[in-house]
């Protein structure tokens, strides 16, 4: 459907480096939270980003919104370079892209009613007059499955699921083209999580919103994504069709990650238990960052960083071993 259509969002070789001090008077160390990352999101499609804490998935979301300035590389939205943060052009653009967080209570002002908070983006971006805004808030509440009487309530009077619906209504108020969802359902109970996941896919179909869906929950990401990127220590290690990647992960890290997901019922992929902790981004291993925990690592993995390259089945993988065995096979 979106073949040939220009990408809505493009990140091209983007890095984000933070300075971090070791101890009180220690020397500053460069921490590469995101390292030469390229990705694109087409209009109306969802790109899922999975990975563990510290892999840079949230930083990627903030780079996409222009909330972080890349240290290297370019972010383009609708083909245009991202304007400087805080500039008038950036503010105008922010109406076109919105962010939804994990914790809806933290994302809301506890002293304002739900209706006031949903109307706030409309006021900020000077959309409509008072009565138009009131109608729009009512329509948004309906769209996210809240009742009209929820409008006058305060955040603490709603349940967790209802709050996340209200946060979504607020994010949708300016009719954005892109929604960056950072762990949007992780704080919700299973039965409520399913309601919100269904609602997100419905809203996407109805409004054609593109989504960057960031989560540690592979099952939820598979449910909502058209494409998925697995991140490890600031880089994408595997990217492609979620069906293919979750059924037959190619990168050793993706394999371990998929096999670690506890599933009710018989296990399809034997569990691979990784040794060691996720590495410290400030102390990045040489070569492939995953090599100290990788069961397949050989000498070249310690020496050279693998590039993200296409495999014969159409996905992208950054692993020397995978590409070597493909070369031998062909």
């Amino acid at each position: 459907m979106t073949e040939g259509v220009a990408n809505l969002l493009e990140l091209d070789g983007v890095s984000r480096v933070y300075g971090s001090r070791r101890g009180f008077l220690g020397a500053s160390v460069a921490v590469r939270a995101v390292d030469q990352l390229s990705l694109s999101v087409a209009p109306g499609r969802t790109l899922g980003i999975v990975g563990e804490s510290g892999c840079g998935k949230s930083t990627t979301g903030r780079l996409a919104l222009g909330l972080e300035t890349p240290s290297q590389g370019r972010v383009r939205f609708e083909g245009q370079p991202m304007p400087a943060v805080g500039s008038a052009a950036w503010r105008r653009l922010r109406a076109r892209m919105q962010l939804v967080f994990q914790d809806p209570l933290g994302a809301m002002d506890r002293r304002l009613t739900i209706a006031t908070q949903i109307a706030e983006p409309l006021a900020i971006h000077a959309i409509g007059d008072v009565s138009e805004r009131r109608d729009r808030v009512a329509a948004l509440l309906r769209d996210v499955g809240l009742r009209p009487d929820h409008a006058a309530r305060h955040p603490h009077e709603l349940s967790g699921g209802q709050r996340q619906r209200a946060v979504l209504a607020r994010a949708l108020a300016t009719d954005p083209a892109l929604l960056v969802c950072d762990e949007p359902v992780s704080a919700l109970d299973v039965s409520i999580q399913a309601q919100v996941v269904n609602m997100l896919t419905d809203l996407q179909q109805a409004r054609g919103i593109a989504m960057l869906f960031i989560s540690h929950d592979l099952k939820v990401v598979r449910q909502v994504s058209h494409s998925v990127a697995v991140m490890y220590l600031g880089r994408i290690v595997e990217q492609g069709d979620p069906e293919a990647i979750f059924a037959q992960p190619a990168h050793p890290y993706s394999r371990a990650l998929v096999s670690a997901i506890p599933v009710p019922g018989p296990r399809r992929i034997p569990r691979i238990v990784l040794t060691g902790d996720p590495p410290n981004p400030a102390d990045r291993p040489t070569g492939c960052a995953f090599h100290p925990r990788c069961i397949a690592a050989v000498a070249v993995c310690r020496a050279r960083t693998p590039e993200l390259l296409p495999t014969p089945d159409g996905r992208m993988v950054a692993c020397h071993i995978v590409h070597d065995s493909n070369r031998i096979a062909t």
Binding site: E52, S53, S159, G160, G161, Q162, D189, V190, S191, I192, Q193, A194, Q195, V197, N198, T201, H216, L218, K219, V220, R222, Q223, E243, F246, A247, A256, L257, V258, S259, A260, I261, P262, V263, P264, G265, R268, R271, V273, L274, T275, D277, P278
Partner: protein
């Protein structure tokens, strides 16, 4: 880490402290009575019911899972059993440990049980550990309290426990502070501290919820191994059906302060009998196979002060009939060792 594991298996009986009468398991048959038996346990806070009659047994060496959503009472059950709820909680019913009543006994008696015969670990190891003390000292403290060890013996034993739970470079890590260790390593410290009292039962309350997927897999593997090596019973409290399926042989599903279904793990996932269990399984996205729209359970969990009459799940239940609103349904047999509290058990699930 494997070297020290064999260390432990080489001296298993020595972990029992005769002073506490822990040899009970040897003098009576394991099947004589359950290790822990909870019956009719009710808890109310200021008149608001949190638990509405829990019946649950844990056999020696068994791994039991308790699943349910926030506020269903899965943690309160064990906090009540161990007398950790404070004065505002009104607790009735009975909780026995190897036949001895735990409810209403003197604090001094409970102090020997808690952290000793029954240990508990929680979701967030970083807040459960004291940030200003070295982790080794915290484990050693537990050893002094529950096993009366002196400083040298406690330090040596703490080191052995660190090895046992797979903390690399154990001797050095004893001197680390919690903030110097990762979340997974801190959870291992918590587990080491729990093992310090040589518990007959370990209660793990969402032990991997705050951890990354690959670290969660490590901790689940560790719990499985420790359980096999020490023979302790395990109660795993989790919101994640997958985690429970991974580790437990029997599962209880809780809803609004009651256990609505109890079954062997395989039976529960293959033939869920209660509509709530069926709903929970339907709401989980699959990892394989065709993508389908999730069958979300409509509505939300009822407020404990505003419970519906009759079955608490009735307002959200697809099988709801007027009879459901008359009285709380009693537990009925739905299969071998399989009970569900529902008036509308599917006929196929009732054994012929």
């Amino acid at each position: 880490m494997d070297g020290l594991v064999s260390d432990f298996t080489a001296q298993p009986p020595s972990v029992h402290n005769p002073a506490h009468g822990r040899q009970a398991g040897m003098t009576e048959p394991a099947t004589a009575r359950p290790l822990v038996a909870i019956s009719g346990l009710q808890v109310a806070f200021d008149g608001v019911p949190a638990l509405r009659g829990i019946d649950l047994t844990v056999q020696r060496g068994e791994a039991v899972g308790l699943v349910g959503e926030s506020g269903c009472g899965k943690s309160v059950t064990w906090l009540a059993a161990l007398g950790l709820l404070g004065r505002t909680a009104r607790i009735t019913g009975s909780v026995t440990l190897a036949g001895e009543e735990l409810l209403g006994v003197a604090p001094a008696t409970l102090d020997r049980v808690r952290g000793g015969r029954i240990a508990m670990i929680f979701q967030d190891p970083a807040t459960a550990l004291n940030p200003v003390h070295k982790v080794g000292r915290q484990v050693a403290e537990s050893l002094r309290l529950h096993r009366g060890m002196d400083h040298a013996a406690a330090t040596a034993e703490a080191r052995r426990l660190f090895d046992m739970v797979g903390i690399p470079d154990a001797a050095r890590r004893l001197h680390a502070y919690p903030h110097e260790m990762s979340g997974g390593q801190n959870q291992r410290v918590m587990i080491a501290m729990a093992l310090a009292g040589q518990p007959e039962l370990l209660i793990a309350d969402e032990p991997t919820t705050a951890l990354d997927a690959t670290i969660q897999a490590q901790i689940l593997d560790l719990l499985r191994r420790l359980q096999a090596e020490t023979g302790m019973a395990l109660v795993l409290i989790s919101h994640d059906l997958g985690v429970v399926a991974d580790l437990c042989s029997r599962v209880g599903v809780m809803y609004a302060g009651r256990i609505v279904e109890q079954a062997p793990t395989d039976a529960l996932f293959a033939r869920p009998a209660h509509p709530y269990t069926q709903g929970l399984l339907g709401a989980l996205p699959d990892m394989v196979g065709p993508r389908r729209r999730l069958s979300a359970i409509p509505g939300g969990i009822p407020e404990p002060w505003n419970l519906p009459p009759g079955c608490a799940f009735a307002p959200r239940c697809p099988a709801h009939t007027p009879a459901c609103d008359l009285a709380e349904p009693a537990s009925r047999t739905a299969g071998r060792e399989h009970q569900a509290a529902c008036l509308h058990l599917a006929p196929a699930t009732v054994p012929a």
